[in-house]
Each structure stands twice: as C-alpha cells, then as structure tokens.
C-alpha cells in the first residue's frame, strides 16, 4: 500500500510530503524523506512485549501487570516525576498532565534540556516569530546561530530556506543570503555566504556587539569580540539591516552555553533592534518532532510550558527548582515515569545514577539507554507510523500525523489512560 502526504515524526520540521510504501506491518520504502526519516520509518527494532526487572535479570510480563505495577509505583511515591513527552502525540501528553495532577507530581518535557532557556527568554521579552511558510516565501536573509540544520534538521534548508524557492524569492539559492554563526565549522557553515566563527561561550558578547552596531553605537565595539573581528561584525550587521526580510534560527548552541536564557534574550533584542531597519524574525530550531506540542499542551492545561509541579495541589513552575535535572540531581524524585524519551542517554551521569536508584518505568517502543536504568518497560506504537495523533511543528503549526497500518501495540494514549484509570480507581477507594 502506497500512502502519500505522510508526516515524518523525527524532527521539528514535521515534513508532510513523504510517500511511504507499507507491506503488512512493515514500511518497505520512503520517498522524499531525509536519512533520519528513512531510519525512523524503516530502521527501528521494537521491543516486542512489556518487560520487568527481576533482580539482575529481565522477564516478560503482560500489559495488564505492567500497567497495574506502574500505577502502584507512582501512587507509592511522594515526589513522582513524569518526564519526556516530546516523542508522542498531544493527546497522550494531555493525559500525562492530568495524571501528574492526580498524583501531585512533577511533569516535565524534554525542552528542559533543549529550548527551556529559549522559553524563559520569550517569557521575558516576547517572541517576534513567524511561520516557516513566511520564511520560505519572503526571507532573503537567513541567519543560523548555534544550529547545524544539515545534520539536525536535514530538510530545513531545502523546504524553507536556502534551496526553497518562494513566492517573493523565486530563485532562493541565488537570492537568499545565508549567515552561519557557530563555534566550529559545521556542514551548514560550509554552504554559508558568511561564516562567523566565535569562541565557545562568546555568543552573548557577539550578540551585544551586533546590537550596538545596529543601534548606531559601533564606536564602542573593540577590534575583536569573542574571536570575531570588528570588520566581520559590521559586515554581518549590514547584511541584516539591508535585508528585505531576515529570519534568524537558533539552536542549542545558544541555549546550552554560558548565558543560556540570557543569550536568547539578547538574540531576541537584536531582532527587535533590526526591526527598526527592516522586517526580522527569530525562531528556535526545535529538535524532537513534537517538543513544541508538549509546550503547547502543558501551557493550555496548566499555564506553564514545562517543569510543572503539582505538589501544592495547584500548578507551580520554577525552572531550576522544578525542572527534571535539578529534581534528579538533588535526589528528590522517588519514582519516575519516562514517556517517549531517553534521559539515560541525554541526562548527566548524576541524574542517571538517581534514575537507577528509584523505580523508573519507561513507556517507549524501543530499547534505549533508559531501558537499562528502569524497573519496567511498556512498548507502545510509534506515533506517525502505527498510531495517529496531533503534533506541533517547530513554528507552532499543528499537524495531524497518520497511522500507516493497524498496530499490534497500544498507543501511548491508551497505555497512559489505563494507568490513569487505575490510579483514579485506587484514589477513590
């Protein structure tokens, strides 16, 4: 069976033009996808059944036993942490938030270790953003800062920027200028018209220098700023000011380096300065395909986009205190439910040590690093392949992912609903 207009559930681009051929329960070919999409649809080996730790070994268990055991672990805990959510659909994320509220636990998503600082900055100074369609059709200058789209979002350039012809940009490759700012010469830097190589941790200073130049105070800029020459800074500022429509995209090169949320605030304020001269927008390069959706769902349910603590009976939000890394690093969580994520691979060692100490349950289709730290794993269908649901693209556009074949696995939403029902039943006793 050939299915057209399939949505790719890998990165925040959510490319919706894939053509996928399915035979039974197997995807046999993917057209239009990048390498990452091909691997996503055709490469993964699923865990076939729920498993539970038994001393130093693992045993198969049933879905019913695994769900009852998970509910028991969460109810026995004083400070349960419900983490992940970016690799599943909005409907499952919604149930997760309700479950956290019922338990009085903390619910946090993977933006806590990716664009959490961007959200903090946006809460301070706003977000002059736009959709990717606007960028494709209007932007004649693209600025990638601390982002390497060729490796992290392989079709971003071909669908929206460098190679994508648009309504007002009819020959994108010739008419669009591309600036890349990074601490290393990435693949993306190799195709840039202007590559700015800065020292690690120098982003805030370079952004400040650009702001000064755009503001007309270039006289205060020294000959070198974090390894970048004054001449190049003036050249970059001129390129930005002279664009008809500029679009800045920033990645984790800004959020994870010293300065963190203040780097993003500075980048947003540079964008604001540039809007005195021309039209300029700024957008985060969201990584997980539905991480933006987790922020949306958390926000419309609780008022906060991540790191939401229900211990007080109401939603409380204080990143740095209620965020997953801090809760695990302090040894505070006494149980953890991980959904559609892999903190074992992506959290610092000290947090992994704590996940191994406490009863951790993983709801994920594949064996990953967190499997080895867990007491239980419940395999589920992969949203966008054998489950459907809503996801949000990196620019905040909601897109419905499709189910390509009937799965023998339950979806995340089904498993979480059953856990929720058990907890609710027990709490009512």
């Amino acid at each position: 069976m050939r299915v057209e207009d399939v949505v790719c559930p890998f990165c925040g681009c959510l490319c919706d033009d894939l053509v996928v051929t399915v035979e039974g329960e197997q995807v046999v070919s993917v057209e239009n996808g990048c390498t990452l999409a091909n691997e996503k649809f055709m490469g993964g080996k699923r865990l076939g059944h729920p498993i539970r730790r038994d001393g130093d070994s693992w045993k198969e268990t049933t879905y019913q036993e695994a769900i009852e055991a998970t509910a028991g672990i969460l109810m026995d805990a004083d400070r349960p942490l419900l983490y992940g959510w970016s690799g599943t659909h909005g409907e499952a994320q919604s149930i997760g938030v309700h479950l956290a509220e019922l338990l009085g636990g903390v619910v946090d998503n993977t933006s806590t270790v990716c664009h959490g600082p961007s959200i903090l900055a946006i809460q301070e100074v706003g977000h002059p953003g736009c959709t990717l369609g606007q960028v494709k059709n209007r932007a004649d200058l693209i600025l990638y800062w601390g982002a390497n789209p060729i490796e992290a979002h392989p079709r971003h350039m071909s669908r929206y920027t460098t190679y994508a012809d648009g309504f007002f940009v009819t020959n994108a490759f010739r008419d669009r200028k591309v600036i890349v700012v990074d601490v290393r010469r990435t693949e993306s830097a190799n195709i840039a018209d202007e590559f700015v190589l800065l020292e690690p941790g120098g982003d805030y200073a370079v952004l400040s220098a650009l702001r000064a130049i755009v503001r007309g105070r270039g006289d205060v800029v020294p000959p070198q700023v974090a390894g970048v020459s004054r001449e190049q800074l003036f050249r970059v500022a001129d390129l930005c000011k002279n664009a008809r429509f500029g679009a800045m995209f920033f990645g984790l090169g800004l959020t994870m380096t010293p300065g963190k949320s203040k780097n993003i605030r500075n980048a947003i304020e540079l964008t604001s300065e540039l809007n005195r001269h021309t039209k300029f927008t700024i957008s985060p390069m969201r990584g997980h395909w539905n991480v933006y959706g987790s922020n949306e769902v958390f926000t419309w349910l609780t008022g906060y986009p991540f790191a939401v603590d229900f211990a007080r009976g109401i939603a409380f939000y204080n990143p740095g205190e209620t965020s997953s890394i801090d809760i695990l690093h302090r040894g505070e969580a006494d149980a953890c439910l991980v959904v559609a994520s892999d903190p074992g691979a992506h959290f610092p060692r000290a947090c992994c040590d704590h996940l191994a100490r406490i009863p951790t349950v993983l709801v994920d289709p594949h064996v990953n690093a967190t499997t080895h730290l867990s007491r239980l794993q419940i395999p589920v269908a992969v949203t966008g392949i054998d489950a459907e649901g809503t996801a949000y693209r990196m620019d905040g556009v909601p897109i419905r992912t499709r189910m390509l074949y009937q799965s023998r696995f339950p979806s995340d939403a089904e498993v979480l609903s059953r856990i929720y029902d058990v907890v609710q039943r027990e709490k009512r006793k």
Binding site: R53, S57, L252, E321, H366
Partner: protein, 129 residues
C-alpha cells in the same frame, strides 16, 4: 591535556538514535573528534583510544581527526558518553552546561564501554533481549 568539550547532533547519531544497542550508535556516540595538531601533540592516530575526564567522571572513547574544529576543543555527539562527563549542576537555570565542559584527555589502552555497560556503571541492569 586540557580541552573544552562541545556536543551536538550528527547524521549517524540521529540515524541510529532508536538503535542505541547497535555498534553503529556506540561508535558514533563514543567518538572524540579532535584537531589533528592536538592529536599529534598527544601522539594519537585515528582510532586511538583516549580517556576523557570531566569533573567527576571519566569515559574511554576513540579519537577521530577533525580539521573543522579549533585547537583546544573536542567534539562528541550528544549521547551517553558525552553526558557521562557533564555535571548535573544547573546553577538554578534548569539546564546543565552540555556544550562547554572542561575535560582532560589522555591516551589509554582501555576499551570503549558499550551503552549498556555505561548504564550498568550508573547502577542499571542491562537488558540484552
């Protein structure tokens, strides 16, 4: 020798991200990219093994020459090997210093651990199924 460790995505890492038990993932996630002149200073060749020490922990990786890096920097793709060296301290921001970790790199003959072995070192129980 002291370095600054930078992390980031790579295509091979993303391709194998749902096969973390695979040799392809282990190899990519445990590769320490280093400028060739720094490799010369440490008397390393492509594929030589190094012990990379962070503040609290160390992990063995293999080296690969990377002329696209500045001297004094190493690049390791995001994953359990790089994160083994990152501390959990966020200084109340919620975000650890994933991309700016000071490390010490020294040659070693020890073997590169598997992902499962790294998780065992954290107190986990490897699932081999």
């Amino acid at each position: 020798m002291q370095f600054v460790m930078i992390t980031g995505r790579t295509i091979p890492q993303g391709s194998a991200v749902e096969r973390k038990h695979s040799e392809e993932y282990r190899k990519e996630a445990s590769t320490c990219h280093m400028h060739p002149v720094d490799m010369m200073d440490l008397e390393l060749e492509d594929g030589s093994r190094v012990r990379v020490r962070g503040k609290d922990q160390a992990v063995v990786m293999q080296v690969s020459a990377a002329p696209w890096l500045n001297r004094g920097h190493i690049f390791v793709c995001l994953g359990p090997y790089a994160n083994h060296l990152v501390t959990g301290e966020t200084r109340s921001t919620g975000m650890p210093d994933f991309k700016n970790t000071p490390v010490i790199v020294e040659p070693t003959d020890d073997t590169v651990p598997t992902v499962a072995a790294l998780m065992r070192a954290c107190g986990g129980c490897p699932y081999e199924g």
